[in-house]
Each structure stands twice: as structure tokens, then as C-alpha cells.
Amino acid sequence: MTAVTDRPVPAPDVAPNFTTSPSGRRRKRTNAIMATLVTLAFLIALVPLISLLTEVVIRGGSMLTWQFISTDMTGVFGDSPDGGVRHAILGTLQITGLATLISAPIGLFAAVYLVEYGHGRLAKTLTFFVDVMTGIPSIVAGLFAVALFAILIGPAYRSGVMGAIALSVLMIPVVVRSCEEMLKLVPNELREASYALGVPKYLTIIKVVLRTSLAGIVTSIVLAIARVIGETAPLLLTVGIVTSMNTSMLDGRVATLPVFAYSQYSQDALGVGADRAWGAALVLILIIMILNLVARFISSRFSIAEK
């Protein structure tokens, strides 16, 4: 054994002292300060959430009458407090509905490809670009729709389809990502059991994989709808705003709740427009809330993996 003089040795023989030492007290203090700061960070995050929700509920709640929900803005001028959001609610449902019809199948099939078929370069490329697509700014998606239809039809063309396309660009990657997660949750044993019974691959996917993860897939799609239903910027660029209902998706502008809220705000931020904007905001948040509750209900009620 080499003689090492400076090796650390225990303190000389005194009774052990486990009470907090002076340096320990300082560290305790730092610890307490940091615990306070960390808790404070959370409390700070509550400020916008709570103030925002109370503003929406109070200011929007005063607008929430049957009249507001059941009328549109036809013939409403000046400081008239009449008018409502019926056309915007329907427009929002139309456009997000169409966007869902486009995005859900494409997103789901792409997720099936990634989980069940893709192993090579295409799968890797796709995974990477789906991630990239998640990061596309919503206004760029809107510009894309504008550019696309300017080339296909003409620069002045505006319609619900444009908005649905723009929303689809934002929605597809969300659907792919979350459906992929759901499909991955299906245990491989189930697939193998099915193959062992001589079931062809596509039927295995339909009857076993998709069937098992159905609740998760529906939940994913509902949550994706909730994500895009509040998108404003792309719709501002593509479908704009009108005063009454437009049931045609191929011709003319369509009113939507987010754009309605914005346009009311931008036209008359200090008068009745502000009230209508808050009213529309509340309706929009209620729709998003319902979608989230539906998603929760589906996933808790029908989920097989949980039980």
C-alpha cells in the first residue's frame, strides 16, 4: 500500500451530528428558494389561462343567446347589436369536415404504411418529412392554397375547398403522428396469431390491427380536428368572410368562426364588434371542448388496451 498522506479520511472521533450544518442551512435555503421559484413558474402559467378563460366566459357569455347562434350577419350595419354566428358555425363545420374527409384517410393510410409496410428509405424519408410538415407555419399553408388555386383556376378564386386544402396540410401530419402511435400499441402477438390462422396481411390489418386500435384512431382524428378547427390565418387568406351562409364549397367565400371573430375585432374593436368577437371565441372554445370531451369519452369507453 502506498503511503498517501492527503487521502480523505473521516472526521476524528466525535459524536456524529446529523442536525443541519451551517453550510447545510444555506443549501436548504437555496433549495427552498428554488422550490418556490419552480412552483411560481407553474402559478405564472396559470395567470394567462385563468384570465383568458374568465374573459372568454364573462365577455362571451353575455353574447351567448339563441338569437346570436341562430342568425347570420345579413343586413346588420353600424352599431346594431343584432346578428349572429350561424353562418360561421356552419362554415367552420363545412370546412373542417371537408378537411377531415381529406386528411383522415390519407393520414391513416400513411400511418398504416409506416407501421405495417414501410421499412426502407421511403419510410425513413416519410417519417422525417412528416415531422418537417408538423412545423409548417399555418400562414404558409394558407399561402400554398392561394398559390395552388391561383395556378389551377385563377388569382381571384376563393372557395371553401381552398380553406379545406390549407387545413389539410396542417392536419395530415398530426393524424399520421398520432395514428402511428396508436397502431404501434397493437401487440405483435395479435398480428402473428392472425397470420398463423392463414389470414392475409390486409385482412389482418383491417380486422386485427385497425379493429384493435379503432378507439385510439378515432380519438386521434377527433383531437386533430380540435387542433385545426381554431386555425385562423390560413382561412383568412383563403375563404375570407361573408355575411351569410354559403353552402357551396366550390364557389365563393365562406364564413368561419375564427375569421368571424377576427374580422369583427378588426372592424370594431371598441364597440359591438368586440362583443361579437368574444361571443364567437366562446362558441369556438365550446366546440373544441366538446371535441376534447368526445375524444376522452371514446378513448376511455372503448379502449381495449387500457383494460
Binding site: E55, F129, V132, L148, G230, E231, L237, A281
Partner: protein, 331 residues
């Protein structure tokens, strides 16, 4: 349906194995299904390529034309002079948002992963996720009606006390400046940064935490010694994802920020001053209704710049995540 006529003689047990390979009932379905799936995957790639191609195509007239062709729209600025201040404003707003959001998010994530009792951490995480569900237009309303009036006096005070530092100089009410917009952006990106940070913090190996505890570390010292170093790259990439979102956000900025007048070329670091900044996204939303022809092309060119910036930021974030995954696999 084509009849199953195989030249081979049927086997003794009835259905011959050989014929099943020829027209397995699943064969057509298999092909169709595999085809549909692959096509969907390819369609996504094509869409993304189309986004880039159509934007470039529509931006090209403005990029190639002489500035005189769009001077009407840009008030005599050339394309670089027009887009430059917008890029500056976009990056500035996003960076201020990041400066606010990152420390808060780390704090919240630590609170959820390390401080809050198990029963509480689930609901707390849910509350923070709620922030992500609120539409941007509602944030815009909140920013204008709630935040701007409340924060104005604070900014006024800061500008009076610290106005000798250029960045805090020249506050002018109302507080429709880049900092107010950035605060709203910060609230909007808080959930994503928090969620990703929380996940990496929760992955800190038990061994590292115990090593720290066994050395007599307090709760905070465990966080500093084991959790934060472990989660560092995760937090960085989370911040980049948040940055990407802040760069591209339109409505909050459009509804809160009072922009500089069209045709001025300002690069201002006075973050409390009014009418000195504008972002690409908000500018597009604001100008597109009165733009036509070359004007639209100029705006699309600016959108292309935004697309490129966010693409780089997001790819960098993904790259960090991927690199981190490779590292933790090796350990």
C-alpha cells in the same frame, strides 16, 4: 372473377397448395391495401414538395422582376429591403418569446416531473396542455383586451427607469409593441416546450438521481446535478420546436402589434417602442387583401423566406432529438 384453373392435379386432400399461391383470396386485397398505404405516404411527400414548388413558382416573378415592377406595392423598396425588416421582426419577436417561455417551461416541467406530488402532477400537466388547445385568435383577443392595458404601465415604468439602455427606450402607449406580442407568443409556445422537457426529465435514470441523493443532495441539487444535465439536449430541441412555432404564428402578432408603416425600412432594437416592428406572417395576413399581381408575389416571396427559416429551425430541432436518441442508446 377469373376461375381457378390450375394445370396441376388437385392434391389428395382436396384443395391443392399450389393453386392457393396463384389466386390466394387475399392477393388482390393485399396489393390494393399495400398500394393505398404506400400511395398515401407518397402523396404526403408530394404535397410537401408541392408546397415548396408552388410557393417558389408564385414567388419567382417578384424575385426575378426589377424592383420597379412592384415599387407600387413596396413603396419603392426592393425585395431585400422589403423582406429584411420583416425577417428581423419575426426573429426578434420569436426570440423574446423564447427568452420568456424557456425558463418558465423548465420550471413548470421540473415542477411536474420532480417537485409536485404524484397525485398533483397529472392534473398540472393537463392544465398546461389546455393552453395548447386555445385557438390563436382567442389569444389575440386576450392579448389586446386583457394584456395590453395591464402591461402598459409596467412597460412605461421600465422605459422611464431603464430607458437609457437603448432596448428599453421610447415606450409609447398603448403597449401594442413587439414585447406584448412576444409575451402572448410565449404563452402559446409554453405548452410544447413544457411537454417535451417534462418527458425528458421523467426519463432521467433512477441511478443518477440516487447517486446524487446518496451524496447528500437536496431536491434542487438533484435537479441541478442529475436531471437538468440529463435533459439539456431535450430542452434545447424543445425550445427549437417552440421557436419554430413562434416564428410562424400569425394571429397573436396581427392583433396586438402595431406595425411600422409600409415602405419603411426599420431595424429597431427598441423592444418597447411602437410601430417599429412587424413579422412576416402578420404582414402577409394584413397586406394580402389589398395586394394583387406583383404584390401577391412579393408576399409569397416573404412567405417562402418564413418557410425556409422555420424549416431550418425545425430540422435542427429534429436533428438534436435524433442525435440524443442515438446517444442514449449507446449509454
Amino acid at each position: 372473377m377469373s376461375t381457378d384453373v390450375t394445370p396441376e392435379a388437385p392434391g389428395a386432400e382436396g384443395r391443392p397448395l399450389a393453386s392457393r399461391r396463384g389466386t390466394t383470396p387475399g392477393r388482390f386485397g393485399n396489393r390494393l391495401f399495400a398500394g393505398l398505404s404506400t400511395a398515401s405516404g407518397i402523396l404526403i411527400l408530394v404535397t410537401l414538395a408541392a408546397v415548396a414548388i408552388f410557393l417558389v413558382r408564385e414567388a419567382l416573378p417578384a424575385i426575378t422582376a426589377s424592383p420597379a415592377a412592384y415599387a407600387d406595392f413596396t413603396r419603392d423598396l426592393n425585395l431585400g429591403q422589403y423582406i429584411g425588416p420583416l425577417v428581423f421582426g419575426t426573429v426578434l419577436a420569436a426570440l423574446i418569446a423564447l427568452v420568456i417561455a424557456v425558463p418558465l417551461s423548465i420550471g413548470i416541467a421540473l415542477f411536474i416531473a420532480h417537485y409536485a406530488p404524484k397525485r398533483l402532477s397529472g392534473p398540472v400537466a393537463y392544465v398546461v396542455d389546455l393552453l395548447a388547445a386555445i385557438p390563436s385568435v382567442v389569444y389575440g383577443l386576450w392579448g389586446f383586451f386583457w394584456l395590453v392595458p395591464k402591461i402598459g404601465p409596467i412597460m412605461d415604468w421600465i422605459s422611464q427607469k431603464l430607458g437609457f439602455i437603448p432596448i428599453f427606450a421610447d415606450y409609447a402607449p398603448p403597449a401594442k409593441n413587439v414585447t406584448s406580442a412576444a409575451i402572448v407568443l410565449a404563452v402559446m409556445i409554453l405548452p410544447i416546450i413544457t411537454a417535451v422537457s417534462r418527458e425528458v426529465f421523467l426519463q432521467t435514470p433512477r441511478l443518477h438521481i440516487e447517486a446524487s441523493l446518496a451524496l447528500g443532495a437536496t431536491r434542487w441539487e438533484v435537479a441541478r446535478q442529475a436531471i437538468l444535465p440529463f435533459g439539456r439536449s431535450g430542452v434545447i430541441s424543445a425550445s427549437m420546436l417552440g421557436l419554430g412555432r413562434a416564428l410562424g404564428e400569425t394571429m397573436a402578432v396581427l392583433m396586438i402589434l402595431a406595425p411600422f408603416a409600409r415602405g419603411t425600412e426599420v431595424y429597431s432594437i427598441k423592444i418597447l417602442a411602437s410601430a417599429e416592428h412587424q413579422t412576416i406572417a402578420a404582414n402577409i395576413a394584413q397586406q394580402i387583401r389589398e395586394a394583387h399581381g406583383m404584390g401577391v408575389s412579393v408576399l409569397i416571396a416573404s412567405g417562402l423566406a418564413l418557410f425556409a427559416i422555420t424549416l431550418v429551425v425545425n430540422m435542427a430541432a429534429r436533428w438534436i432529438v435524433a442525435r440524443r436518441a442515438a446517444f442514449s442508446g449507446a449509454n
